[in-house]
């Protein structure tokens, strides 16, 4: 078995958003409920259904397109379902499959649901092809039960089911993190051009970080500036680097010799951690969708990191110039963006790299003009110190997160 993560709580809620059209609703619901029971029979987890509102685990059926899921299904056959690892909780089934129960025809909903719940609870694929967690669907089995490898895997995460364990206290939601200094640095001027970090974050939002502040960049302008700690509780300012991975939904922030991991705006348990395997004081970090790896940059070197597989860092750092043609050393920020390009930022300039990771013609260009919507006149009148009050200011009437989430992302001019 492979372990991908776990829930800190033992009492979880779930919500069924819709059901397949190929089964009577009662049969489909019974199959899904039985899928939960396979797991709760062997580990001290409980599952409670909710009919409305938020839930830890959310089950739904969608087809080739879904406004809520970036991974479209492929019609009948091939991919049947997918799920997110803890503590995300999405479990999606392909609505184009012939979902069945009690027959060798079609695809058994109960068994596939149990498999996907295994992922949602933290199990990866097993290499035992008879195991429930094997990647390939082995067909309907009238007397289905978990394979010993499935049981060993889930019990490695949550322990064995016993009366003593059931009343175990919930684990602490958030670890203690050092308090954020109460005196923030002066509010920066986005038009000064220099940045600590840039990130294409969840929901396609482009975040810019400078000092103790963060703002989003959109087609129509900039959001108000917020303190970093107002969005990501426990996170200090003056970051070295920030990177979001759509593969894992993890946001990593780097500062000095420490790394913070958040899922959306929630700190992951056990973080911040000490950076042990790469050098401290990174310059920049970005996720490259073409190979699904995170790149960490410092000075003239880079590390390539696979978030879900053991990475041999002994071969790193490698020279930046071996992989990225035409970029500056010691960038202040970097990110890959929605248009497939990678951007490097340094001082007041930025470089655009194509899919072959070569700097495109016409670069570097001006960050303030092309990303921050600053007019040349503004640049002329803005003191070079960059710590004056910017045109966008903190709006205390709204929640920072609400404000950030309500703004669509933007392309550079």
């Amino acid at each position: 078995y492979l372990l991908l993560g776990r829930w800190r709580r033992r009492h979880l809620t779930f919500r069924i958003f819709n059901l397949p059209s190929t089964l009577p609703p009662n049969t489909a619901r019974a199959a899904l409920l039985q899928a939960f029971q396979y797991w709760s029979n062997v580990v001290p987890l409980t599952f409670r259904e909710v009919q409305a509102g938020s839930a830890d685990i959310r089950l739904s059926f969608h087809g080739r397109q879904s406004p809520y899921c970036s991974k479209a299904f492929d019609g009948p056959g091939r991919v049947l379902a997918h799920a997110d690892i803890p503590e995300l909780g999405s479990v999606h089934f392909d609505e184009d499959e012939l979902w069945t129960e009690g027959t060798y025809q079609g695809v058994n909903l109960r068994i596939i649901a149990a498999h996907e719940l295994g992922h949602a609870l933290g199990l990866g694929h097993s290499r035992y092809i008879q195991a429930l967690m094997a990647p390939v669907y082995a067909g309907y089995r009238p007397h289905f039960k978990l394979h010993p490898d499935d049981v060993a895997g889930i019990q490695a995460l949550y322990g064995k089911k016993s009366p003593e364990k059931e009343d175990e206290e919930e684990e602490t939601e958030l670890p203690t993190v050092p308090p954020v200094p109460t005196k923030p640095s002066p509010m920066p001027d986005p038009c000064s051009g220099e940045l600590d970090a840039m990130m294409l974050g969840p929901r396609g939002k482009t975040y810019a970080f400078k000092g103790d502040y963060v703002w989003t960049v959109t087609d129509s302008g900039l959001s108000p500036l917020f303190r970093v700690s107002a969005l990501w509780e426990g996170l200090p300012g003056n970051l070295d680097a920030a990177v979001y991975s759509p593969r894992t939904q993890w946001i990593h922030f780097f500062k000095g010799d420490r790394v913070w991991r958040y899922v959306n705006f929630r700190l992951s348990p056990g973080f911040p951690k000490k950076l042990n395997r790469v050098e401290p004081n990174l310059d920049a970090a970005f996720y490259w969708p073409l190979n699904q790896k995170v790149f960490l940059i410092k000075g003239t070197g880079y590390w390539q990191w696979d978030e879900l597989a053991p990475t041999d860092f002994s071969r790193y750092p490698k020279p930046i110039k071996d992989l990225f043609s035409g970029v500056p050393d010691r960038p202040s920020a970097a990110m890959s963006w929605q248009n497939g390009r990678v951007f490097f930022f340094k001082d007041k300039k930025y470089w655009s790299l194509n899919r072959q990771l070569r700097v495109e013609k016409g670069y570097p260009r001006n960050i303030a003009h092309n990303w921050m919507h600053c007019r040349p006149r503004t640049l002329e009148t803005t003191p070079t110190g960059g710590d004056t009050s910017p045109s966008a200011t903190l709006n205390t009437d709204r929640s920072p997160i609400d404000t950030i989430l309500n703004i669509t992302s933007a392309a550079p001019n």
């Binding site: 799920a83 498999h115 996907e116 694929h125 990647p135 390939v136 669907y137 879900l308 992989l323």
Partner: protein
């Protein structure tokens, strides 16, 4: 010949999609035959198929089977 090419392309796509092949850092995905063979061996070993490193009928049949959309963690290192 067209059929063979299509099957090979489909196999490469499968191996890429499920984590047996790593996308190259630069250029197009023109994998060397050694890379493909290595990925096929890992897939065959994980699927309990005869390990040949070749895109044989059993391997193609296994790739056509319905499955979960998540990546597989299997490579020579994890299998070892």
């Amino acid at each position: 010949r067209t059929q063979t090419l299509t099957e090979k392309e489909a196999a490469v796509e499968y191996l890429l999609q499920y984590g047996y092949l790593q996308k190259p850092l630069e250029g197009h995905a023109n994998f060397r035959s050694e890379d493909l063979s290595k990925a096929l061996r890992a897939f065959q070993e994980a699927s309990e198929l005869p390990v040949s490193g070749q895109l044989d009928d059993a391997t193609k049949a296994r790739m056509r089977q319905p499955r979960c959309g998540l990546e597989d963690p299997f490579n020579q290192k994890t299998l070892k």
